[in-house]
């Protein structure tokens, strides 16, 4: 495993922003179900203690769990660089940032799908989500291609992302979602 410079860079950028993030939660390393539920529990507790409204806490948990779920299920099993997950807060926004290694095939699929979804309107995303929930075919593990749509529908924002090549069949997928802070 090599040092995660992607995570370091993003954390530094977050600290350098015009309106710096006053609170950050960062998770680095392998994911499993227990770590995912523990992470969500810590974030919930943090937001609750900061006085965030129930709706914002719930939205953050639902988006966060979808991102972590995708990272665990679709990330490279023998990744060169560890995955990371970060929730940063300031007075204006709550930002969820994530990074993990994906295969070349997944990198191409994600780039194509996210470019298509990011070009759609909020209403278009809602319609697509409903259609996929109603008619989407379940995979062997019960997923139906709803993860990205769910994140977009709940945040009502684009998923910002970049894909960086690490080696021939491995890319680092960095993404973030920004939620308006209505604390």
């Amino acid at each position: 495993m090599i040092e995660n410079n992607f995570a370091k860079r993003h954390i530094q950028n977050a600290l350098d922003e015009v309106e710096p993030y006053s609170d950050m939660f960062i998770l680095l390393g392998e994911l499993n179900r227990t770590i995912i539920s523990g992470t969500i529990r810590v974030i919930e507790s943090k937001l609750h203690n900061l006085g965030y409204p129930k709706r914002m806490i719930s939205r953050t948990k639902l988006i966060g769990v979808e991102i972590l779920d995708n990272m665990q299920k679709h990330g490279c099993k023998e990744a060169s660089i560890s995955s990371y997950f970060e929730v940063s807060l300031n007075n204006s926004v709550l930002k969820i940032t994530a990074g993990n290694c994906v295969s070349k095939t997944d990198s191409e699929f994600l780039t194509c799908t996210l470019n298509k979804y990011n070009a759609m309107s909020v209403d278009g995303i809602k319609k697509k989500y409903l259609e996929q929930l109603k008619h989407g075919v379940l995979s062997e593990t019960g997923n139906a291609g709803l993860g990205l749509l769910s994140i977009l529908k709940r945040s009502e924002k684009k998923i910002n992302f970049e894909m960086e090549k690490i080696k021939e069949d491995e890319f680092y997928f960095n993404s973030n979602v920004i939620l308006d802070n209505f604390n």
């Binding site: 969500i40 639902l62 929930l133 109603k134 379940l138 019960g142 993860g147």
Partner: protein, 127 residues
């Protein structure tokens, strides 16, 4: 007595299916690794439920869930809707949420819109 109980874990909810009472209760965190496997025993119990009771009452109180769970929960609702139409009955979902949690209310409303099941939203006060 036909009864199913699945104990809760850090990432799956407590589930009880009571065929005598005609109830299905799902309470807790819902992020199973394999949602199809998780729902299998519940789906199997629905037929037995409908043999005993004409109406099924769902008691749903979710903390948070992933989309794999959503899709399978909707499939469960749609199975009940299909059985309802065959039996001329009207099942119902009691969708519980913490007071002020409009995000989970909207999720319930989406299930209501798609399934056409009768939903009752119950806000649980937090202290």
């Amino acid at each position: 007595m036909e009864y199913l109980k699945i104990e809760k874990t850090d990432f799956t909810p407590e589930v009880t299916v009571d065929c005598d009472k005609g109830t299905i209760s799902i309470v807790g965190i819902c992020i199973p690794e394999d949602a199809v496997v998780f729902f299998e025993p519940i789906i199997q119990k629905v037929d037995c439920l409908m043999q005993n009771k004409r109406q099924i009452i769902f008691d749903i109180y979710l903390e948070y869930f992933n989309t794999g769970f959503s899709k399978n929960l909707l499939a469960l609702f749609m199975k009940v809707v299909e059985l309802d139409s065959n039996e001329n009955s009207k099942s119902k979902v009691i969708w519980k949420l913490e007071e002020g949690d409009d995000e989970l209310r909207e999720s319930g409303e989406l299930f209501e819109e798609i399934s056409k099941l009768d939903f009752e939203f119950v806000e649980i006060p937090q202290h």
